[in-house]
C-alpha cells in the first residue's frame, strides 16, 4: 500500500509523521511505502526524510516544481505510487495511526474508497458547528450522506482516480465525486488524534474558497451534462422578472402615466438583458458539452462487459 502524504497546509515534521503512521503497517508486516508530495514552500521539511531513506525506510519524496492544487498532487501520486491501494492523508495528525489499517481493510474487502470519519469528535464546539454547517451543504448536493468529509484521510483504489474529475481543490470532495459515479464509498469511524482537538478559525478567504468550491461541486454534480438547465432557469427567472416589470409599465403607459422618466424601466430592461445573457451563456456551455460528448461516457458499467464492437465502416 502506498501512503500518500500531501505536504502543503500546516505540515508537522515529516520524520515524526512517518514514524507514527508507519508503525501499524510495520508491526503487521504489510508491504508499504510512504510517498511525500512536497510543495515548493515546504521544501525545507524534506531534509528530515533523508536519514530515514538512508536507513532503508520505504520513504520517497516528490518535490513539486510549482505550487499546485491538491487535486493535481493526488493525480501525480496516482502516477508515481507503487501499490494499487493509496492511503491519502495530510502532513498533520487528524486520526490515530492505529486506525489506518481499518481503512485499507475496507478497500481490500471491496470498497472503492474508505473515508475516515472522526468519531466521537472531541474538538471544541466551534469546530463541530463549522463542520455541521459545511456537511449540511455538502449533503444537499451529494448522492450519499457524509459525516466527516473534511478528515482528509482516505484509502482509495488507484484505478478510481483516473475516472474522477480531480481538478482544482476538488480533492476535498473525492468521496462525493466517487459516490456520484456509483463507486462504493464507505465512511469508517476512527479515533480522532489528540493533536486534532484544538479550536480552528480560518481566515475569511478560506471560508469564501470553500463556498466557491461548493458552488463548483453543485454545478459539477447536477449540471455538467446539461448546463442549459442551470443557465436556462437562471435566465428565465431574470427574464420573467424583467418582463413583468415592463408589462406593468406598459399597462401604466396605456392608462396615461408617462414612463420615459421612470428608473423602473431601466430595471425591467436590465433584468431582461441579464436573462438573455444567462441563456446565451448556457447555449455556449451546451455547445462545448455537445462537442465533447463523443470523447466521454455518460455512464459507467458496474462490471466490465464485453469490449464494444469495432466502429462501423
Amino acid at each position: 500500500m502506498s501512503v500518500v502524504v500531501l505536504v502543503d497546509e500546516r505540515p508537522e515534521p515529516l520524520d515524526g509523521i512517518y514514524e507514527e503512521f508507519s508503525a501499524p503497517f510495520r508491526a503487521a508486516g504489510v508491504p508499504h511505502e510512504f510517498l511525500f508530495l512536497i510543495e515548493p514552500a515546504r521544501e525545507s521539511l524534506a531534509t528530515t526524510l533523508e536519514p530515514l531513506a538512508a536507513g532503508g525506510a520505504p520513504v520517497r519524496r516528490l518535490q513539486l516544481a510549482q505550487a499546485v492544487p491538491e487535486g493535481a498532487m493526488v493525480r501525480l501520486a496516482a502516477e508515481q505510487a507503487r501499490y494499487d491501494t493509496l492511503l491519502l492523508m495530510p502532513a498533520y495528525r487528524r486520526v490515530e495511526a492505529a486506525s489506518l489499517p481499518l481503512l485499507t481493510t475496507h478497500v481490500a474487502e471491496g470498497a472503492d474508497l474508505a473515508l475516515a470519519c472522526r468519531e466521537p469528535r472531541r474538538d471544541p464546539g466551534l469546530n463541530r458547528f463549522q463542520s455541521r454547517v459545511f456537511h449540511g451543504m455538502v449533503n444537499r448536493i451529494s448522492p450519499q450522506r457524509f459525516a466527516d468529509i473534511g478528515s482528509g484521510v482516505m484509502a482509495i483504489r488507484r484505478g478510481l482516480l483516473a475516472e474522477l474529475p480531480l481538478h482544482g481543490e476538488f480533492f476535498r470532495f473525492l468521496p462525493v465525486l466517487a459516490a456520484r459515479e456509483g463507486f462504493t464509498v464507505h465512511e469508517v469511524p476512527v479515533r480522532q488524534h489528540t493533536a486534532d482537538q484544538h479550536a480552528r478559525v480560518y481566515p475569511a478567504g478560506t471560508y469564501l474558497r470553500r463556498l466557491v468550491d461548493l458552488l463548483g461541486l453543485f454545478f459539477l454534480v447536477r449540471f455538467t451534462d446539461r448546463p442549459l438547465r442551470f443557465f436556462g432557469v437562471l435566465g428565465s427567472v431574470l427574464g420573467v422578472g424583467g418582463a413583468v416589470v415592463l408589462l406593468l409599465l406598459l399597462y401604466q403607459r396605456l392608462h396615461g402615466i408617462g414612463i420615459a422618466n421612470r428608473p423602473l424601466l431601466l430595471l425591467g430592461l436590465l433584468l431582461l438583458v441579464l436573462g438573455i445573457q444567462a441563456v446565451a451563456l448556457g447555449l455556449v456551455a451546451e455547445i462545448i458539452v455537445h462537442l465533447g460528448a463523443p470523447r466521454r461516457k455518460s455512464y459507467r458499467l458496474r462490471e466490465p462487459g464485453p469490449p464494444p464492437p469495432p466502429p462501423a465502416s
Binding site: P143, R180, E181, G182, F183, D225, R226, L228, R229, G232, V233, G258, A260, N261, R262, P263, L265, L266, L269, L270, V273, I276, Q277, A280, L281, L283, V284, E286, I287, I288, V289, H290, L291, A293, P294, R295, K297, S298, Y299, R300, L301, R302, E303, G305, P306, P308, P309, P311, A312, S313
Partner: protein, 316 residues
C-alpha cells in the same frame, strides 16, 4: 456461429416484474434463430431487476445484461446499450411492456427499404389524457416545428436504427426524447415512421411526471441550436446581437426625440440613453460569446474529433 443481425436494446429501471414477460415476448417475436440479441441495461435499479435480468441472461446466450454503476438516466442507459450492441440493426424499446416486441420485424423490414431510422408511433395510446396524451401532443408539435423533423411521436422508444447512424450519435443528458432530431442533425439520417401497438403499463409506476416539461423545453432549445447552428454558432449569436443592436438604436432615437421635443424637466436625461446602452452592451456580449462558441467548434475540428458524415449507398 451466426453473426448478430439485430440487437434489441432495453433500458430497465425498477422493472423486475416486467423482465420475464419482456424476454419471452422478444423471443417470440424474433424466433428461435441466433441472429439476434437482447441487450438489457440495468440503470442502477433498486429492486431485483438486475438479478432477474441476470437469470434471463444466464439461461439464454442471446440475452445479455449490462449493469450501470448507478442510476444514470434513460439516455445514458440507452447509449450504453448502443455502445455494446453487436447487430447491424439496433432496435430500442422500453422495458415496461408498453411497446410490443411483435412490431420489431416490421420496423426492421422498413429499415431495409433504405431508411436509416424507423420511428414507431403509438397509434392507440393507452395512457391518461391529462397527464400524458395532451402534454405529449403539445410537445410533439413543438418538437416538429422547431427541429423540422416530422415525427409524430417522439416519446415512443420503439425505434430501429442502422448501426452506422448510432456510431455518429452520442446521446447524453435526456436526449433519448429527440433521437430522430439528433440523428438528422448529426448524421443526416433518412427517417420514416410506422404505427406500432401500445399497451397500458402492467407493472410498477411511470418514472416521469409533468415536471419533465421544463426539462424538455431546455433540451429542445439545445437540439434546435445544434441542428441549426452546429457548424457556425457565430451566426446564431450574430442574429441575437443584431436584434439587440437594433433595440439599442431604437432607444437612442427615443432619447434624441425626447431631448428635442420635450422640456428637459419632464423627461429624465438618463432612462432612454441608459436603456440604449444596455441593449448595445448585450449586442457586444452576444457577439463575443459567438466568437467563443466558434472557437470551440474550430478547436473540436482541429482535434480531428469530428466524424465523417454518413454517406449514401454504403448501407446494404
Amino acid at each position: 456461429m451466426t453473426a448478430t443481425r439485430i440487437s434489441v436494446v432495453v433500458p430497465l429501471y425498477n422493472e423486475e416484474e416486467s423482465v420475464p414477460p419482456l424476454v419471452t415476448a422478444v423471443r417470440d417475436a424474433l424466433g428461435p434463430g441466433s441472429d439476434w440479441e437482447l441487450v438489457l441495461v440495468d440503470d442502477g435499479s433498486r429492486d431485483r431487476t438486475a438479478e432477474v435480468a441476470g437469470q434471463a441472461a444466464a439461461s439464454d446466450p442471446r440475452v445479455r445484461l449490462l449493469r450501470l454503476a448507478r442510476n444514470c438516466g434513460q439516455t445514458p442507459a440507452m447509449q450504453a446499450g448502443f455502445d455494446h450492441a453487436r447487430g447491424d440493426v439496433v432496435v430500442s424499446m422500453d422495458g415496461d411492456l408498453q411497446n410490443d416486441p411483435a412490431d420489431i420485424p416490421r420496423l426492421v423490414g422498413r429499415l431495409e427499404e433504405g431508411y436509416d431510422l424507423v420511428a414507431g408511433y403509438r397509434e392507440r395510446r393507452q395512457d391518461t389524457v391529462i397527464t400524458r396524451k395532451i402534454p405529449s401532443w403539445i410537445a410533439n408539435r413543438i418538437i416538429r416545428r422547431l427541429t423540422g423533423v416530422q415525427i409524430r411521436d417522439n416519446g415512443c422508444s420503439l425505434k430501429a436504427y442502422r448501426r452506422e447512424v448510432l456510431a455518429r450519435m452520442h446521446l447524453y443528458s435526456d436526449m433519448h426524447r429527440f433521437i430522430p432530431a439528433v440523428a438528422a442533425a448529426t448524421a443526416g439520417a433518412r427517417i420514416t415512421e410506422l404505427p406500432v401497438r401500445h399497451h397500458a403499463r402492467r407493472f410498477g409506476q411511470s418514472k416521469y411526471g409533468l415536471s419533465r416539461i421544463a426539462k424538455v423545453l431546455a433540451d429542445l432549445l439545445t437540439i434546435k441550436m445544434i441542428r441549426s447552428f452546429r457548424e457556425r454558432p457565430l451566426r446564431l449569436f450574430a442574429i441575437g446581437s443584431l436584434g439587440a443592436a437594433l433595440l439599442g438604436f431604437g432607444f437612442t432615437m427615443a432619447a434624441l426625440v425626447a431631448a428635442a421635443w420635450f422640456r428637459p424637466e419632464k423627461v429624465s436625461a438618463v432612462v432612454f440613453p441608459g436603456a440604449a446602452l444596455l441593449w448595445f452592451e448585450l449586442a457586444g456580449y452576444l457577439l463575443l460569446l459567438g466568437l467563443i462558441a466558434e472557437t470551440a467548434v474550430i478547436e473540436h475540428r482541429r482535434d480531428g474529433a469530428e466524424q465523417a458524415p454518413l454517406a449514401r449507398g454504403d448501407l446494404q
